[in-house]
């Protein structure tokens, strides 16, 4: 019997796993994105082409990697190559999705994972871009998974590490980024957010069971748009939870953490 109670981490991962169509290609980072890609590969998109920036391509992941370069990322891989080669797949337009976490995000989907405070004398120094900037600059669609809070969803981000729609419509193209690219979905513990075609602003697409539009807005530091086709997110299924707990993350490395 699968316990149908689920925590917020499990909810985010299950919802995120449904984004990919079978046959899509994705560049993933460690943690939640990796768990969601694995779950997707096992349930919805068996032909999901997964790439890692250390150089592993098309692995069949046995368990959660601790590093995007560790041996698990190479398990049953069909190619092991270089970081530049992995990034050039993105630059040539081969990668449909990238899948990122993030410390802070604004209404245009710009992400900060570098500093809080002044760059030269920061209050907090985070690791920096890693591959995130390359992924979000050059994959067709960027997906971000991050918990919903006013601290994280804010328009006063101190540093744009990774581009969303920058300052709004047309800004990516003007900056020189490849056309028809940008943020696609932000998946949180409360909702699935998208981006309005015209204004490029963040928009509520669906609200998870037990939450309201007000809950989502109250935990966001800027005004959210609401989709005309607003839906309620389908809760995690029995099958999703079973595979997530038993096969994807049996040691609860990710699902055992608090979404905060």
């Amino acid at each position: 019997m699968v316990d149908m109670e689920y925590n917020e981490m499990e909810l985010m991962i299950c919802v995120a796993s449904r984004v990919f169509e079978d046959g899509a290609s994705v560049s993933v980072g460690t943690g939640v994105p990796c768990a969601a890609a694995m779950l997707s590969q096992k349930l919805y998109a068996p032909n999901l082409l997964i790439t890692f920036e250390a150089g592993s391509v098309a692995p069949i992941l046995p368990s959660m990697p601790l590093s995007v370069g560790d041996s698990t990322t190479m398990s049953r891989a069909l190619q092991t190559t270089s970081t530049a080669d992995a990034m050039e797949m993105l630059q040539r337009g081969l990668i449909d999705y990238c899948f990122l976490g993030g410390a802070q995000i604004d209404m245009y989907g710009n992400l900060n994972s570098t500093v809080i405070g002044d760059y030269r004398k920061p209050k907090v120094r985070f690791p920096g871009s890693g591959g995130a900037n390359d992924f979000a600059s050059m994959s067709w669609r960027t997906i971000v998974v991050t918990p919903q809070s006013k601290r994280r969803f804010t328009n006063s981000i101190d540093f744009i590490t990774t581009p969303g729609y920058l300052t709004g419509p047309g800004a990516r193209e003007k900056a020189g980024l490849p056309r028809n690219t940008g943020p696609y979905r932000v998946i949180t513990n409360m909702a699935v957010l998208g981006f309005d075609d015209k204004t490029k602003r963040m928009m509520i697409e669906s609200v998870h069971p037990g939450y309201t539009i007000e809950d989502v807005q109250d935990n966001t530091g800027f005004e959210l748009l609401v989709s005309e086709h607003l839906k309620e997110t389908a809760p995690p299924t029995k099958e999703e939870l079973k595979i997530l707990r038993e096969e994807v993350d049996p040691f609860r490395a990710v699902i055992g953490k608090k979404a905060q």
């Binding site: 041996s71 630059q91 690791p127 871009s129 390359d134 581009p163 980024l177």
Partner: protein, 327 residues
């Protein structure tokens, strides 16, 4: 927009041509001990590039020896790095760095004292993405002064880099020109090398082949030394050729406690102990004393953390994931 960051590790390609012209291409033995390799090939002021991916296939034994010899005044690339450059930071060995990823042991957490050190303003950083630094090595490997790329544009990562925007002469498109990165010294840990420096890497390559081509001095540390026939019989095994290499060091388990693909997995237990120890200045000092200064060799260090029993456990773990190393 031109980046406001300081340009580090850059050379004129014609100067590098002169340098590489003079570099010996003789097939001659280069095998030496760790102590000699660190002493001879790492000098104050050098720009240092480390191979691997932070927690994967890093030259840890070499880094320990650098700390033991109190090498300092370096510049370095914090490219896909964490444990490796965190150790250099712990030894206060560099003041300037090109950073694309540093500090956090990815999913495992971050060492507080190293983060504080980065926050103190004592380390000067020029900002990049992993792709950009990979392509900076590639530009140098191609013998050029820059490569045009399509990432980093429009962001603060671009602003605090040392890249410049250029216009494509064919399409009129905007590109970001990332400057070539020619390190003074590179240290790369590999699965197998012969005494001349021919080197074999199994699994992901990260930027190591370009780093070897781009760097003035190249030190190879290897899990095992193999006869040259290993390469003569199958020349496609030569990932890094002898004519790029200056020194070869036999360094079994040299990536511990990081992962060596097909050989041994990460020692999560020890990495967690490190994160704990690196929470304050006192813990860091104690860690360096016990694990480096009081150890004569890298084996003494491994013995402190379970020795052969631990190593066998990590080999078994790796076998479960990838199967063993078999050439």
């Amino acid at each position: 927009m031109d980046g406001v960051g300081k340009l580090l590790g850059f050379e004129h390609p014609d100067d590098m041509r002169e340098f590489f012209r003079k570099k010996s291409k003789k097939l001659e033995p280069k095998l030496m001990g760790l102590g000699e390799a660190v002493d001879r090939f790492i000098q104050e002021g050098d720009y240092l590039a480390l191979g691997g991916f932070g927690l994967v296939r890093i030259p840890m034994a070499f880094i320990h020896e650098m700390i033991r010899q109190k090498k300092g005044g370096l510049k370095c690339a914090a490219f896909t790095s964490n444990l490796d450059t965190d150790m250099l930071a712990a030894g206060k060995m560099f003041k300037e760095t090109d950073v694309s990823y540093a500090i956090a042991f990815e999913a495992l957490g971050f060492p507080k004292i190293i983060r504080k050190y980065f926050e103190s303003g004592e380390i000067y950083t020029t900002e990049w993405s992993n792709g950009a630094l990979g392509w900076r090595y590639k530009a140098a490997a191609m013998g050029l002064s820059f490569l045009p790329i399509r990432s980093m544009l429009g962001t603060d990562t671009q602003k605090y880099s040392a890249a410049k925007e250029i216009t494509c002469p064919f399409t009129g498109m905007k590109y970001l020109a990332v400057p070539a990165l020619y390190p003074d010294a590179a240290v790369i840990h590999v699965h197998a090398a012969d005494i001349y420096g021919n080197s074999y890497i199994k699994g992901v390559l990260i930027a190591d082949i370009d780093i070897a081509k781009a760097s003035k001095k190249v030190v190879i540390t290897a899990e095992r030394i193999v006869p040259t026939e290993f390469f003569r019989n199958n020349p496609e095994r030569t990932k890094i050729p002898f004519y790029l290499v200056d020194a070869v060091v036999k360094s079994p388990f040299g990536s511990y406690p990081a992962n060596m693909p097909y050989e041994y997995f990460l020692d999560v237990e020890h990495l967690r102990e490190m994160l704990e120890a690196f929470s304050d200045e006192e813990g860091l000092k104690r860690y360096l004393d016990e694990n480096i200064f009081k150890c004569e060799t890298f084996f003494d260090f491994i013995n402190l953390h379970g020795g052969m029993k631990k190593i066998q456990y990590l080999i078994d773990k790796e076998n479960e994931i990838l199967g063993g190393y078999n050439g």
